[in-house]
Amino acid sequence: MPGPRSYLGVELARPRVGVFDFTSCEGCQLQFVNNEATLLDFLDLMELVNFREAMTEQAGDYDIALVEGSISRADEVTRLEKIRTQAKILVALGSCACFGGVNQLKNRFNDLKWVKKEVYGNFPIATQKVRPISDFVTVDFMLYGCPPRKEEIEKVVTNLVVGKKITMPKYPVCMECKANENICLFGLGEPCLGPITRAGCDAWCPNNRRGCWGCRGPAEAANVRELEAIMARHGFSREIIIDRLECFGGFAGQVAELRRQSEHPRKARSTGQA
């Protein structure tokens, strides 16, 4: 058991942290331990009591629950509710927990029976529509991204420990992309959701010459209508936009609005910001 920690002479408790996973690839949890250079310092900030990816012993007593994954089975709901009762702070870790993530793509299909048969064949599993954890429990804080950036996780945990305010960028990815002086992908003939997606990933994809797919969900004041006009000017159809917007589930509201517009073009309402 490591000794007490202090910051500027103030003694700090090590919060007891549990990491839990639901329907997901567990990549977000791996991000948690994915920086060898800082791993020991990072783990020294807390007392990990439940973390299937990195430890075998588990305890049921924790202050902070980091929850990865979306909810796709009835038994998951029960387990999630139990975690909520125990945790003082519940953090949604990654796009699946925040929005449903890539998993929620199956909700696109009207016939879930057919989906199950395609995926599980003769070994049926009692799954339901994929939903974000906030549909079932109160979420105190969202750590966006598929996966979230390691630096961001470290910053959030450090701030939680020293009691410092946690803030997330409200502006879109373009801001970080331009700060990195990337060449805009639209100029290179690629679509990109950077203008409407919440920043914080340091423009991870555009830095690597890939258009953004919106894994961090909408920025505040996301101007979807204007992005659609921009996409059209660059020769990208509404289907291409919807495809991207749907990928991680963060833009569910905006997608529904676009679909309504496609079905009832005359009744189309603005999807721009208020």
Binding site: F42, D44, K155, K170, Y171, C174, K178, E181, A221, N223
Partner: protein
């Protein structure tokens, strides 16, 4: 002003003489989907990588004197106490090789805010005092409206300004350092023929301007048109993305973030260039946002540049480089916005 002329063959020699320092200049960065080359400023190691015939760069050279992210200071914690370390992040003089008049004038404008009393910014000033600037004449592009902003020629703020006369350069020498460097290459005093050729080149360049902004009584006009429907029309298009400020050579607004090291033994203050178009630009402690609407934020960017700054310094905080309009995906350009405000609606 002292003038000199030298053969184009001498320019690589001048570059090599200066290359003991960091040299920043225009380079080719790629090709767009229509096959057009794209240029930006970067550190240049070889003369042949310099593209002095560049039409324009996507970003300004700002990151070399106002970095998008800059560490302001770090702290080391010792028990109940702490020690502060400040670093102005300037290690070597920087040679800017090939700035157009607009970008030199942008530095002159920034100087008025960032190097003047009562609160000079030491990070900027330290970098500014360690610069050697070589200007380069340009070919006005369709987006350029520097003439309307009074920034189409640079009268100060550089060491040396070069005009390409074909086989030779016409040099304006403004500093003793520039004079000393030119003594190390073969130059000669310009002849009447050089003067005539120089005037021809300048006149030809000035004929090429295609975009203008009517700035007559602009500050008063902006006061009168504070409620113009034009602001809402542009606001409806704006993405609140901050791209315009990021590519702008004169935007200097910033935010500061304080972070604590993972091992709790240190902390840092980092400055981030920000943009008045971002949704939380005018958000204050307690969460109140003075400018929650996109249209209002867009309007205030124009009011700062073309009204407030003019009242304070008798010149706009815009050099007419057109970068913001080129980079704005929503197609919002300064000439179009100001014309629509003058015309009461787009």
């Amino acid at each position: 002003m002292i003038f000199a002329t030298f053969s184009a063959k001498e320019l690589p020699r001048l570059f090599d003489l200066l290359a003991a320092n960091t040299v920043v200049g225009p380079v080719k960065k790629g090709t767009d989907s229509a096959g057009r080359p794209l240029y930006d400023f970067d550190v240049v190691y070889r003369f042949q990588d310099l593209r002095l015939d560049y039409p324009a760069t996507i970003h300004s050279a700002k990151r070399h004197f106002l970095p998008h992210r800059e560490s302001l200071c770090t702290f080391t914690m010792q028990g109940n106490d702490w020690e502060k370390q400040v670093d102005y992040n300037i290690y070597k003089p920087v040679v800017f090789f090939g700035l157009h008049a607009c970008d030199i004038n942008a530095l002159n404008k920034l100087d008025k805010v960032l190097t003047a009393p009562p609160y000079p910014n030491p990070y900027y000033t330290a970098k500014r005092r360690n610069m050697f600037i070589i200007g380069q004449d340009c070919q006005p592009q369709p987006q350029c409206f520097c003439r309307s902003m009074g920034t189409d020629t640079a009268l100060r703020g550089f060491d040396l300004f070069l005009t390409d006369l074909g086989d030779r350069y016409f040099a304006e020498i403004l500093s003793a350092t520039a004079y000393q460097f030119l003594r190390k290459i073969a130059t000669r005093p310009p002849t009447v023929k050089d003067h005539d050729r120089y005037k021809e080149v300048v006149a030809e360049r000035n004929r090429r301007f295609t975009t203008t902004v009517d700035t007559s009584d602009l500050t008063k006009l902006l006061d009168l048109e504070f409620e113009s429907p034009a602001w809402q029309q542009w606001g409806d298009k704006c993405l609140s993305c901050g791209t315009c400020a990021n590519v702008c050579p004169t935007c200097y607004c910033y935010g500061v973030e304080e972070t604590v090291d993972l091992d709790l033994t240190g902390a840092a203050k980092t400055k981030y260039l920000y943009s008045c178009n971002l949704i939380d630009f005018a958000e204050v402690a307690g969460g109140h946002n003075f400018r929650p609407q996109t249209a209002t934020r867009l309007k205030y960017r124009y009011y700062h540049k073309h009204r407030g700054f003019v009242e304070a310094y008798e010149e706009p905080l815009c050099v007419g480089c057109g970068r913001c309009g080129e980079a704005c995906l929503a197609g919002i350009t300064v000439p179009a916005v100001l014309a629509s405000v003058r015309a009461r609606g787009a």
